[in-house]
Symmetry: C2
C-alpha cells in the first residue's frame, strides 16, 4: 500500500465515479479487503460478507437494473432537489446538485465498465454501524492505492432482482448494505465542497453553539 | 494531527472503551470534527448533525439510561451468545464474548467519566451509508490524535429519553445513528482479532471462493 498519511486519505477520499476500465490487481484487492475487515463491529461479531464482482457477465446483468434504479431515484427522493435546481440554476445548491446528477448519470451509463464492484451485506445491524466502518475502510485503503470508489445503495429499489443475480440466499438474513464500484479515476483527487463543522455540530444541547469555529479545512494538499 | 499512515490508522483503530478522565483539548476536537465532515454522503447532501457532550450534568443524566440499555442488550440480542459462552467457556468465541462483555460493562460503569461523547444524527439515510463514513472518519482522526473511541447504538432501547435529555426536536426527522464515547486510553493500541477476509468474502456469486487467501494481516505494527 502506498505511503499516505491518515489526513490525506480522510480529506481526499471523495465519491469518485469517473473511472477507467483497467482492472484492479489481486494484490491491491487483497489489501483493500484486509483493511476492511480490521474495522470494529458491534460485539466484534463481524456479521458481514463481501462480494467482489468482476465477471463481465454479472456486471452486464446488473447494469440495466442500476440504470432503472437511478431513474427511479431522480423521480422520487431527488424530485424536489431537481425541481429546485431547475428553478434557480445559479444557486450554490443547484450547482452542486447538477454536479451530482452529471456524475451519477455518468456512472449509470458506464456501470458495466467498472472493473470491480464490492457488495457489502450485514446481519443484525439496524443502524449500519457494524458494516459501514468496514466499507469506508475499504474505500480509504483503496484511495491509498490510487483506486477511486463511491457508495451506492440505490439498487434497494430492485433489491430482489439484484440478490437473485448475485445468488444471495433468501433465508439466511443477510441484508444488502451497499454496492461500491471501484476503479482507477480519470480525474484528480481533491477536497470536496462541505459545510463547515460548526454549522452542523452542537455542544451539550441540540441547537447550542459548538464553541469552535472551523471556517477553512484544517488540512489541505501541499 | 499526528503524522500517521493510513495503514496504521485502519489496522489499529479498534473499539477502545477503557479510557482516562482527561479532557480532550478543543483543537483536537476541531481536527476530529473537520475530518468527519470530509466524508462523502448520498448526493453530497450532508444531512448530518453532530452533538458533542462534555457537560458533566448531561453525562450524569445519560449514565443510568446507558446502564439500563446495556442490561437490556445482554438479556435480548446477546442472550444466546452469553448462554453459549457459559456452556463452553473455553471456546474461542466464548473467550471473545467474555472480553466484549467485560469491556462493555466497564464502559457502562464509567459512562459518566468519558470526557467527550459524540452523538451522530442523520436524515433520509435508510442504510446508514451517509452517516457512518463520517463517524468512522471521526474515530480514525481521533486515533491519529491518540484518542480512543467506540460506536454504541444501544441507547436505541430508550431513545425517547435520550433525545429529550439532548434536546433533539421530535418533528424535524433527525434519526439517532450512534453515540461515540471518546477519551485517552488506559491501554495500548493494537490489532484486534478478526476472521480473515477470504472467509467472509466471495467472488462473483455468493458462496464462491474469493480466489485470494489472506491468512495473516498484510500490515503489522513495527
Amino acid at each position: 500500500m502506498a505511503d499516505m498519511t491518515i489526513q490525506e486519505a480522510l480529506y481526499t477520499t471523495r465519491a469518485m465515479r469517473r473511472i477507467k476500465k483497467d482492472p484492479i490487481p489481486e494484490d491491491v484487492q487483497a489489501r483493500i479487503l484486509d483493511a476492511a475487515i480490521r474495522a470494529p463491529s458491534g460485539g466484534n461479531s463481524q456479521n458481514w460478507r463481501f462480494l467482489l464482482v468482476d465477471d463481465p457477465k454479472v456486471r452486464g446483468e446488473l447494469g440495466p437494473i442500476y440504470r432503472d434504479c437511478i431513474e427511479n431515484l431522480w423521480k422520487t427522493f431527488y424530485a424536489d432537489r431537481i425541481k429546485a435546481m431547475q428553478a434557480t440554476p445559479d444557486a450554490a445548491d443547484s450547482i452542486e446538485m447538477g454536479k451530482v446528477l452529471k456524475s451519477a448519470n455518468w456512472m449509470a451509463r458506464h456501470f458495466e465498465d467498472y472493473p470491480l464492484l464490492l457488495f457489502a451485506f450485514a446481519q443484525g445491524d439496524p443502524t449500519g454501524g457494524s458494516i459501514f466502518p468496514a466499507v469506508w475502510s475499504a474505500m480509504l485503503a483503496a484511495r491509498a492505492e490510487g483506486v477511486g470508489s463511491t457508495i451506492t445503495s440505490v439498487m434497494l429499489f430492485q433489491i430482489d432482482d439484484v440478490l437473485k443475480i448475485l445468488g444471495v440466499p433468501a433465508d439466511e438474513g443477510w441484508v444488502f448494505a451497499c454496492c461500491v464500484p471501484m476503479g482507477y479515476p480519470t480525474g484528480r483527487w481533491g477536497l470536496a465542497r462541505r459545510r463547515p463543522a460548526h454549522e452542523v455540530a452542537f455542544r451539550n444541547q441540540w441547537g447550542e453553539p459548538l464553541g469552535i469555529e472551523i471556517p477553512e479545512p484544517l488540512w489541505t494538499p501541499e
